[in-house]
């Protein structure tokens, strides 16, 4: 874990009519970059000199370069809104890498199932799986299409993806949770890694349980410290409350009390 002053290297804004907007921030942070593992996250200080927004914001690492980390994000509040103004050369305080990442399943094939910005930790994981020559497929559910340039970035890391959009503007129309059922007719995965909105993860968990498929999920929670000190980010598991920041963010889906 390092507290590093990172420099913005590149900041891409994928904005197109009718497309879901994403931003891709690449930071030079050599210490964090060299020790990060798929599924780990960083806490980014958003308002260095100002106190509102106050807390750091957690982001999963989207991919790792030699001395850089890249974060894929959507604007959801004043913190992420402010982040979009960052330009190359800006200096940002970053704490990381934090938390426990994914454990790679021992047998194949494996699936990555993402919803929206939940693609971020899975992209890092997928590129690691490719290096290890693990056979996997990626399913990604979105509301609308995304800019082709972003698709290019992701395909470069993950290879081909199976896309589901709610309005059918890209890939199949429908939810990614329907997509897994369709793909299941072709093959049975030996393990699934998932990240996305809670309703998606809940539905996936019900299905994987029926099918007897192991799943790891990357969860998010409101978080203040990121290091296990504030006890603010707990989720309910079968063994009581666990800290998303320290005992997660990746959990075995079995552990989680999903009905809560």
């Amino acid at each position: 874990m390092f507290l590093e002053t990172a420099k913005v290297v590149e900041h891409c804004h994928f904005i197109e009519p009718g497309a879901e907007i994403f931003h891709l921030l690449t930071l030079s942070a050599p210490k964090i970059a060299s020790s990060a593992k798929p599924g780990q996250f960083v806490m980014v200080r958003v308002g260095a000199a100002i106190l509102d927004p106050l807390l750091r914001r957690p982001f999963s690492i989207f991919y790792q370069g030699k001395d850089t980390i890249s974060l894929l994000y959507k604007v959801i509040g004043k913190g992420t809104n402010l982040m979009t103004t960052w330009e190359p050369g800006d200096k940002i305080s970053v704490l990381g890498p934090l938390g426990k990442g994914f454990k790679i399943f021992s047998s194949e094939p494996q699936w990555l199932v993402a919803g929206g910005a939940g693609i971020a930790p899975l992209c890092f994981l997928g590129s690691r799986l490719r290096e290890k020559k693990v056979s996997f497929k990626t399913l990604w559910g979105l509301r609308y299409k995304i800019a082709p340039a972003l698709m290019g970035v992701i395909q470069q890391k993950l290879g081909d993806l199976i896309i589901y959009t709610e309005n059918g503007s890209l890939g199949y129309q429908g939810l990614v949770t329907e997509g897994v059922k369709r793909l299941r007719q072709e093959e049975k995965p030996e393990g699934i890694y998932a990240c996305g909105p809670l309703p998606m993860l809940k539905a996936l968990f019900r299905w994987t349980k029926e099918e007897g498929i192991a799943m790891q999920v990357s969860l998010e929670a409101n978080m203040a410290c990121g290091v296990g000190a504030c006890l603010g980010c707990v989720i309910e598991t079968k063994e009581g409350y666990k800290k998303v920041c320290r005992q997660g963010p990746v959990f075995n889906a079995e552990e989680i009390k999903w009905e809560k």
């Binding site: 874990m1 200080r45 106050l54 807390l55 750091r56 410290c225 000190a229 504030c230 603010g232 309910e236």
Partner: protein, 306 residues
Amino acid sequence: MGKVNLAVKVGRLELKNPVLVASGTFGYGEEYAQLVDLNRLGGIVVKGLSLEPKIGNPPPRLVETSCGLINAIGLENIGVERFIKEKLPFLRQFETKIIVNIFGYSFKDYAGLAAKLTAAGVNALEVNISCPNIKEGGKFFGTDPTSAAAVTKAVCEETDLPVFVKLTPQVTDIVEIAQAVIEAGADGVSMINTFPAMAVDIHTRRPKLGNITGGLSGPCLKPIALKMIWEVVRSLHIPVMGIGGIMSAADALEYLIVGAQAVQVGTANFVNPRTALEVIDGIEDYLRLHHFKDIKSIIGSVLIPK
């Protein structure tokens, strides 16, 4: 440039510098040891402990508001026995004072905690009397001078350690409470605890916290805390540890100038884990700039126009 003296004595508690980290914002110390040289801190106030472990409140436990953070952790902690066995040996390695925050549901709980921690060997106790759901008719110990004094007495009878009582700002007259705990034997007061608060999601129309309400901390609290400390110090001339939204040395200096003898950095630890160290350095720079050789020269030095 001569050396400046940062050492202070708060009641009977001697600190090498007046900057501590506040309870609940620094875990049991080990969480931040990789990032912060704990030896440099004036002291560490450990996460609040109860006799038995406590699981805390249902999530979500945090919500950020403008310049503030509302938390409803619910005093989750591992209990005093595990603290003594598993956490204290680690903390003892460092050249800093270990102050343990304690809370209970009855006078007996507080007395028991004081006895156990005194036997285990810590440097001071901070008595949290601002927690709800307590036996005494559901009223906060912290809002009634008689109960506040009784808790303080129960603790002081079991310990010879310096005792600080952490006060809630949710009272009509904080001077009255401060006076009561000092007369009951406390060395000083830590003020202030979080301010009761809530936030609502307008789309779901539900409270943003699992516990519905929580305690507000962060920079938005500082002016309130400063005023309360100023009232207490000018009326009672007692040792105070100032807490509330300290983000920088300038913030800490305001507290010292109104009369706090030490300060605790809280929420800022989450934002920048090295805040306390930067505050220490900044205070030193300030003293040099203004040609003070000793921090005591500025404590309580506020100039009130006649």
